[in-house]
Symmetry: C3
């Protein structure tokens, strides 16, 4: 990343980002091309400024609220890092310590926590049909609170993973590719294999594969989604990928063969996920409080998984990729065969060889989150960044 900050800011200045101001970042396909590019640019600018030891504390004060309904290490720390870098303070809404369970509505809670909130980050990825819906309800609530004069500012939302998309992950992944291949224009025509892989665990969210096919198809890439029969992702997101492929001159292909997906691929992303249909059933069982049903489903799904232990990213499969040297990606943590489990998503030698690129892939997340925060809160972002860069 050796680009000049001023050059990057100039490139940002020509993009139309008006729609981002006071808006949320929930699904990448809700964003225009300019908005997606602007997010990358701002992330790159922030990284450049930080590398030059120029302060990026663009907020005087303010809270970045986080609500994690699922465990998290890297997203939690990425979010905290982004907030800290910009001058915001994280305040965690721990539902266990709050009165949320005792009869507060979403609307009420959203307003009550937002009097000084600039940003609300939410991870809610456990139940199909719930996470994104909840985020939209929070967004609507604070919008109304702002309109009604309850809130002096409209906090904007950043999805830290929902049931449909995982935008902070897919955008960081994309920026990793942009940096790796030397520019977004160089992604055109590259083949990426988003493949299911075996894991001895159960119920991993679908938001990563969905996020990847929904985003990477925007850059003219040849996106292949591979999974065993029965491990389909949401049809709606496949529709997004298909439309993108058409619009941006790439392709979106599905296959039930990992080998086929890897064949000639420039990038591979082998990762386990749960079948959409099963996740829907689980949501229903959960809604009915059917614990026995959930346990039975879990058992069934683990048995089903076990039929596909050969869906592992091995050296042999890697050798079939472009020049045998595809870039291996993962959102981490990975299930590594013989390391974190007996049989898993990836062979230890493959994982080890790509450890440094994998960690670099993750390193973009704080900057992507910070870019999502900034673009939604500053109408005059270009001026503010120029000022930061030049007065330092």
């Amino acid at each position: 990343m050796s680009k000049d900050v001023n050059a990057l800011i100039k490139e940002l200045a020509v993009l139309n980002t008006k729609g981002m101001y006071l808006n949320d970042f929930l699904l990448t396909w809700d964003k225009s091309d300019d908005e997606i590019r602007a997010t990358f640019k701002v992330a790159q600018i922030l990284r450049e400024l930080r590398e030059k030891n120029i302060s990026t504390k663009l907020f005087d004060s303010g809270l970045a609220i986080s609500l994690f309904r699922d465990n998290s290490t890297r997203t939690r720390f990425s979010y905290a890092s982004a907030a800290n870098m910009l001058g915001l303070e994280v305040q965690d809404l721990d539902e266990g310590k709050s009165q949320v369970a005792h009869g507060e509505t979403v609307r009420e809670t959203a307003n009550m926590i937002s009097f000084m909130a600039d940003i609300i980050g939410i991870r809610d990825d456990m139940y199909i049909g719930k996470g994104n819906t909840y985020m939209k309800e929070v967004a609507k609530s604070v919008q109304e609170g702002f309109k009604d004069g309850v809130l002096e500012q409209r906090p904007t939302l950043v999805s830290l993973q929902c049931d449909i998309d995982h935008p902070t992950q897919s955008m960081a992944d994309a920026l990793h590719l942009i940096e790796h291949f030397g520019g977004v224009e160089n992604l055109k025509g590259k083949k990426i294999a988003m493949s299911w892989a075996y894991s001895p665990s159960y119920g991993k969210p679908l938001s990563v594969p969905q996020g990847i096919i929904g985003l990477m198809t925007r850059f003219g890439m040849d996106v292949t989604l591979a999974h065993p029969e029965g491990y389909e992702v949401m049809g709606d997101v496949e529709q997004v990928a298909m439309k993108n492929a058409e619009a941006f001159g790439g392709s979106f292909t599905k296959t039930n063969s990992m080998a086929e997906a890897f064949e000639g691929a420039d990038i591979v992303y082998p990762k386990s996920w749960a079948p959409f249909a099963a996740m829907e059933k689980r949501t229903e069982l959960y809604g009915n409080g059917d614990d026995a049903g959930i346990k039975a489903l879990e058992k069934e799904l683990l048995a089903q998984n076990a039929k596909f232990k050969d869906w592992e990213c091995t050296e042999d499969l890697m050798s079939k990729t472009a020049g045998g040297k595809a870039l291996y990606m993962h959102c981490l943590p990975a299930d590594i065969t013989g390391v974190s489990c007996e049989e898993g998503e990836v062979a230890a030698t493959v994982f080890d060889r790509y450890r440094v690129p994998l960690y670099k892939e993750a390193s973009f997340k704080p900057y992507i989150i910070a870019a999502m925060m900034l673009t939604s809160k500053f109408a005059q972002l270009v001026n503010i960044l120029l000022h930061a860069a030049t007065t330092a």
Copy 2:
């Protein structure tokens, strides 16, 4: 709130706030009239500055410690917001993660956490005779630590609710009324009904009704406390209310009829609480470790509550208030009939109609807490606020 900041600061300047410096905010009736007014003024000044986008980070650094012995959403976030607005960082004393249980005395813990503490905020409202006593013990401990040269500064306490008073709530409520009616002078002669209301839950603290009758009687209001027989509040606080009524030219009346309280009221505050006598018994049972006794008491109290399901803030009751348009207040979350419970404190249509004012009521809490922080930590607060307002 369109008042000029400089005008507000001038009004603050004539008030005697010397007694607030390095002092705690535990009970509103421990504060002089000037001190109460000053707290409102500072809150209004902070809100004005924030609305004008003028930084209110008046601390260079420092910790605002919080200790919550009861669940909390809005007070927790209000406290965090106040701290953030002023440049303090919240550090939560989580007794579960600390060694407090393992033989540390109050005196020791108070000093050990206070080396860089500017403010200590405590919520301890669960047991009669405990919360306020504990806060005073903490205050005494840090006062001694400061005197002995252990602490370089004397952290000041803000009660975030005790067994007797809930000053951040009642002061925010009062500021809401001041803003709603256009000035504290307009509260004179207004009738406020602080009424018990039915809730299907058990053991709600008495600090809200007590805080309201102890504070609102200072503004020349006609304060009516209504509850079924057996739901008395602390006699000491009733004494405070009576003395206030006499001193400030309002009145303090008690009744066992919700309808009577609502008759002609300008403001209604229907809210459930537990009977004082029962809470005393519960504290005793808790002290004896009598779990069975506590469960029996709980059952008994719920049965007793159930006799008063007609204590609900209905449309019919609201129609009896002044012009049928009394301002409905609640500290939230409310038990809304048909929404958060089958039968509760308030009819859904009443609650819905007052949602925006209710949220606004809550919006004053961060500013009130920040004002309590500032008045106790800066001897030259007027100059500091003037400086902030004019150099921005």
Copy 3:
């Protein structure tokens, strides 16, 4: 502490601290004499600056990550205070809320949390052979991450207590002695009794006695380690103490008599700890998941402890110290006879008489931690401190 800041900075300037830059603070005996002295000096400078109300926020932004694998009040707050004083924000890695348990390696986690981390503070004192090993693994991981370009900065580690040493405690204790006796040169020839004492609890870490004998022998003191037979500390640390004694012209003596240790002592540090051999056995049992074995061991150790109830710091024992007025020290919380337990480490009258010095002892910890942070992160620390002191 009336020394002039500029004088202190001049004294700091002549010390060789090059080895501290981008290095960790894990064991005091890994540090050179200049580095130990520099840590005291920086702590004193920070305290002076704070007392003069001069800002010590030397970081623009950045995270100070904390990982507590054991409960903590004072160290947690000392760490938060140090971070706040310097302009860093604490982000707690709560392993319960993270995915650490789900297959992440130390190397991966260390990198994933460190993208914006300046400091990582770890308490891991529960298992012999584990804590320090873990810290070194984290240090190696972030060093590699930095070298590989994954991390833009190399976060440095501060041990907040491991199985071997408790450097933030022993260094704060030493600074307390330096201040108390008016200079490090005055410690030469002073007798300090680090003595085991009875406690009705089980399994207290050995890091305090080990830290004390490993550090205090560097100042030419006569260090006596007293404990009942069977309560030996790590042999390696005794070796350190013996070598120090030889090198610095003091002495290191062992005895099985508390009275002998107290005889003529200028300083006494009576504190309970678990026998090293038993702690090793416990670590093994834990490794084997042998819960029954652990319970049996606990019972056995409590019975063994009970044989030594006369190892209590009584008035009678205190009267045998130099002039009957030895300085009593403790890391707190202490087991006080008749206060926090029936029979404990110290008589209530002794503890009470030394309460203020004990609290002052603790007050040095935030400054020591801050000094460890600063010396590892700023190559030009002298200039930066001079700048802070003179431009204020």
